[in-house]
C-alpha cells in the first residue's frame, strides 16, 4: 500500500492561513466606527451596486472583505438565520452575538475540514438601544472572533488602519460628520490618494430611527453631511 505524503497539522494550518490572508490582503479596508447615536460603516468600494456593507436585521449590520462570492454567501445565510429566529421567537431575540457565533462556527469548521479555506473577513455590528451598549464582532477566515470597542477594521491593510485610528481615537464617541470625516481621512492616508465620494460605500445604524435602524448614505447624502 502506498503511503500518503505526511504533512504535519501545523504545516497544513499555516499553509491554509497564508493562503486565506493573501486573498484578503488584496481587498480594501472597511471601518466600523461608533458615533453618538449609532455606528458608522465606511468601505472603499468602486462599485455602486455590489455592496460590501448590508443590513441583516433591525439593529444588526454586516460587512465583508475578501472574496465577494464567499462573503455574499455568508451575508445571505446570516439574513436567513436572523429572519428565521425573529419569525420563530420575536424580533428582540435576534442578537449579533448569536449570529457572530454561527459565523465563527461555520468559518472554523470550513477552515479545518475543507481543502480551501474561505478568503474572507467579516464584521457583525449591532447598535444598542434602551441604554444597551453597541456590539462589534470581527470574525476571521479561521473562525476566530474578536469583540471590538470604539472601532473595528477588516480587509487589506486593516492593521495599519487600526493603528492610525488608535492614534486619532477620541475619548467620547463623536458626531456623525466628525466620525465620517475621520474615517475618510484615515482611508485616504493609508491609500495615499484622494478618495471621491462616489468610490465610498457608507451606511449607518442609527439608534434614533424607528424599527429598522440601517440606512445607506448616498454620495449626495455624504456630501451634504460633510459640508455641515
Amino acid at each position: 500500500m502506498p503511503m500518503p505524503y505526511y504533512v504535519s497539522p501545523e504545516q497544513m494550518m499555516q499553509d491554509k492561513a497564508e493562503y486565506a490572508k493573501k486573498g484578503i490582503a488584496k481587498g480594501r479596508s472597511i471601518i466600523a466606527f461608533e458615533y453618538v447615536t449609532g455606528i458608522l460603516l465606511v468601505a472603499e468600494n468602486p462599485s455602486a451596486s455590489l455592496y460590501k456593507i448590508s443590513e441583516i436585521y433591525d439593529c444588526i449590520a454586516f460587512a465583508g472583505a475578501g472574496k465577494y462570492s464567499e462573503f455574499e454567501n455568508l451575508r445571505k445565510a446570516g439574513i436567513r438565520h436572523a429572519d428565521l429566529k425573529g419569525f420563530m421567537y420575536s424580533r428582540e431575540d435576534v442578537t449579533a452575538r448569536s449570529l457572530a457565533n454561527g459565523y465563527s462556527q461555520s468559518l472554523g469548521t470550513i477552515f479545518s475540514q475543507e481543502m480551501k479555506p474561505l478568503e474572507v473577513e467579516i464584521l457583525v455590528v449591532q447598535v444598542g438601544h434602551n441604554g444597551q451598549p453597541n456590539e462589534m464582532y470581527r470574525i476571521s477566515f479561521d473562525g476566530s472572533i474578536i469583540d471590538e470597542r470604539t472601532f473595528a477594521v477588516i480587509g487589506g491593510k486593516s492593521e495599519a488602519v487600526q493603528a492610525l485610528l488608535k492614534e486619532k481615537s477620541l475619548t467620547q464617541p463623536p458626531e456623525l460628520q466628525v466620525a465620517l470625516a475621520l474615517c475618510i481621512a484615515t482611508l485616504e492616508q493609508i491609500g495615499n490618494q484622494k478618495l471621491s465620494l462616489e468610490s465610498l460605500e457608507v451606511a449607518i445604524l442609527d439608534r434614533t430611527r424607528e424599527g429598522r435602524k440601517f440606512r445607506r448614505l448616498t454620495p449626495a447624502d455624504t456630501k451634504q453631511l460633510l459640508a455641515t
Partner: protein
Amino acid sequence: MKLPYLPNHDDPSFFDFLTQHHPALTPTGRSGFLQAQASLEPMRGASSMNVPHATTVLAIKYQQGVVIAGDRRATEGFQIAERRIEKVFKIDEYSAMAIAGAAGPCIEMAKLFQVELEHYEKLEGVQLSCEGKANKLGQMVKANLPMVFQGLVVMPLYVGYDLKRTEGRIFKYDLAGGRYEESDYHAIGSGGKDARNTMREHFLKGLAEPDALKLALLALYNAADDDVGTGGPDLVRGIYPTAKIVNAAGITDVSEQQIRSIYDGLIATRRSKEN
C-alpha cells in the same frame, strides 16, 4: 458551497425556505396533524372545529391612494371570541393587507408575508414590485389550500402603492390562489357583501381622502348592522374599527380620535332619522 451551522437555501423567498427546511413553521404546517385526525374521525373533520372567524374588511381607492379598513370582532360559533382583534396589517413601507377567515392562520400569514417581503429586500438589495408582492401572496394563499379543506380559511385583501405607476392598487384572491385586481373598491368576509352594497351606492372615481375614509367607515357600519359576525363601533368600551391610508407617503394609521369623530357624526345622523 454549503455553510455548516448556518441555514443554506438557494432562492430569496423566506416562505419557500420555511416550506423546505422548517415546514412546521408555515401556516400549512398543521395539515399533517389535521389530515390524520380527519381520517380517524371521518364524520367529525376539522371543519367542525371552533376557531375564531367572521369579518368585514374593505379597501377603497381615492385620488392619491387607497383606504383600507376593518372591523374588530372575532367570533367562535355564536360566541364573541375577541373584541379588539386587528385585521388590517402594515406589511411594508408601501403595502398593507387585511384578512378574513380563521384568525390564527390569518395572523400567521400576515406575519409571514411581512418577513417574506423584508427578507427579499435584504437579500436582493431592492424591493419587490407591487405586482410581484401581490403574486407572492397569491402563492402563499395557494399553498394554504389543503388547510381550506380542513376548515381553516385564510382570505387576504392586499393593497399596495405602485411607485412606478404612482397609484394605489387593490388585489383580491380566491381560495385556490387566484389573484384579481380591483379597479375601485372591494370588501371581503362575512359582511363583505353588505359593505360592497354600500360602497356601490356611494363610490365615485377620484374621491378626496376624507370622503373615502368616511365611506369606508359607513360601509363597515352598515355591514355590522346586517351581519352578526361583524362588530360595529363599541361606544361603551371605546372600540372602533381601524383604518390605514396607503399613498405615496407610505402607510399611515388613521388615528382613533378621527375615526371616533366620524362615527359620532354618523350615529347622530342615524339617530335623527329614528325620531
